[in-house]
């Protein structure tokens, strides 16, 4: 109860911000600044994220605001679970074939590239492993999952999170404009965002910002399937990391490997698939699906304000040197290579 009361003021701030942006600011920009809306993609989702960054840095000393902001990852996941209702299994199968091919290539190549770079730059193996997992799979969540396996210290984890989120901010601001300038289709942009962007929540922010058709949500649907595909790789890369760090491979018993994979399995994906099963079984009427879509967008809007608030520029500024070089090199390479792959194979 005490915890619930502690998050209430910050949570109210998220709700008020989302209301202000979705009902006031977005319609105003849409009507008065067409270039900002269409090229810079200053829609409700981008505005929520940017407003969150401003709030987070204005209220950096206010603990009450941050208790509420810490609910944002959970709210975003709830939105992703509801998002499952937008798909049928047939659609997932269709997008999933492409995503599995692309994602398996990019997850493993980025992962091993960062491990290799860490060796070349002589960065501590624990920090390198955490960074490799973050850059290879889905950013912050993967880093937090990898940190205990690698025996990383608190400051090493904070370093990796700083790099991922810092690079992610640049990605959120640039991807939609680049996509528009290159006239990428919804499918191409969704695949690029879902593969190239380091952090899951920022994949969502970018895809929602780029979205051309707010009713069909084509970009978001493709981006999220790509993102979910890579999240599913998490338990297996954690397992590889455990072998990588262990001085004696025999330490990791068969029983422990299975337990580790189960422990790291992202449970919310089961919720997403349950929703898809309900839609595939025609459990929802069209007006119910419209309301679910709307609730999902409210969840994303609230979550993105919170995500923006948690972008701490001081922490990012302190992230210097080799970890930054590793993260930026991996992020740039992944962005460029995934864009090339999308243009070559998904034309």
């Amino acid at each position: 109860m005490k915890k619930l009361l502690a998050i209430l003021p910050g949570f109210t701030l998220l709700v008020c911000s989302a209301l202000l942006i979705r009902l006031g600011l977005e319609p105003w920009i849409k009507n008065h600044w067409k270039w900002g809306f269409e090229v810079l993609h200053l829609n409700a989702m981008m505005l929520s994220f940017l407003w969150g960054i401003i709030l987070g840095n204005l209220l950096s000393e206010s603990a009450w605001a941050f208790h509420g902001a810490r609910t944002s990852a959970m709210i975003l996941k709830a939105g992703v679970v509801i998002m499952g209702s937008l798909y049928s299994f047939r659609e997932i199968g269709k997008i999933g074939q492409t995503s599995l091919l692309m994602i398996s290539f990019f997850v493993f190549s980025t992962f091993f590239f960062v491990l290799w770079l860490g060796k070349i730059l002589r960065v501590q193996p624990s920090l390198t492993g955490v960074m490799a997992c973050g850059c290879g799979i889905c950013g912050v969540s993967a880093e937090i999952a990898a940190a205990p396996i690698m025996g990383a210290s608190a400051s090493q984890l904070a370093y990796c999170i700083g790099v991922t989120l810092g690079f992610g901010v640049v990605e959120v601001l640039t991807y939609p404009a680049v996509g528009t300038l290159l006239t990428l289709s919804s499918h191409q942009f969704g695949a690029w965002a879902g593969t190239g962007i380091l952090n899951s929540a920022q994949v969502l922010a970018v895809a929602l910002a780029f979205e051309i058709d707010p009713q069909a949500l084509k970009t978001v649907k493709v981006a999220e399937i790509f993102n979910i595909t890579r999240v599913l790789f998490l338990p297996f890369l954690i397992l590889i990391l455990a072998f990588y760090i262990s001085s004696s491979p025999n330490v990791l018993q068969r029983k422990n490997s299975g337990k580790l994979v189960m422990e790291k399995f992202p449970l919310f994906i089961i919720g997403f698939l349950c929703m898809t099963a309900l839609t595939s079984g025609n459990s929802f009427k069209p007006d119910q699906l419209a309301s679910l879509r709307s609730l999902m967008l409210w969840c994303f809007s609230l979550g993105l304000v919170g995500l923006g608030m948690r972008t701490d520029f001081d922490a990012i500024r302190q992230t210097g040197g080799k970890p930054l070089a590793m993260g930026v090199a991996a992020g740039l390479l992944k962005t460029a290579a995934s864009l090339a792959a999308v243009l070559l194979f998904l034309g």
């Binding site: 990852a73 904070a158 262990s246 992202p266 309301s291």
Partner: protein, 51 residues
């Protein structure tokens, strides 16, 4: 360093984990709460809520 030792060495980082990402102690708890919240919203829609 084996897996068990590395897990133990991270126990002191729980605070960072909480501050960095989420209100919840573990990712799994967060996933469960997110699914419960989503289920409540879906039930509300099935019960007649229109947004």
């Amino acid at each position: 360093m084996n897996l068990q030792e590395s897990r133990e060495s991270f126990h002191g980082n729980d605070e960072v984990e909480g501050r960095a990402l989420s209100l919840f102690r573990t990712e799994r708890t967060e996933d469960v709460v997110a699914m419960v919240l989503a289920a409540l919203l879906v039930l509300a829609v099935l019960a007649g809520l229109r947004v």
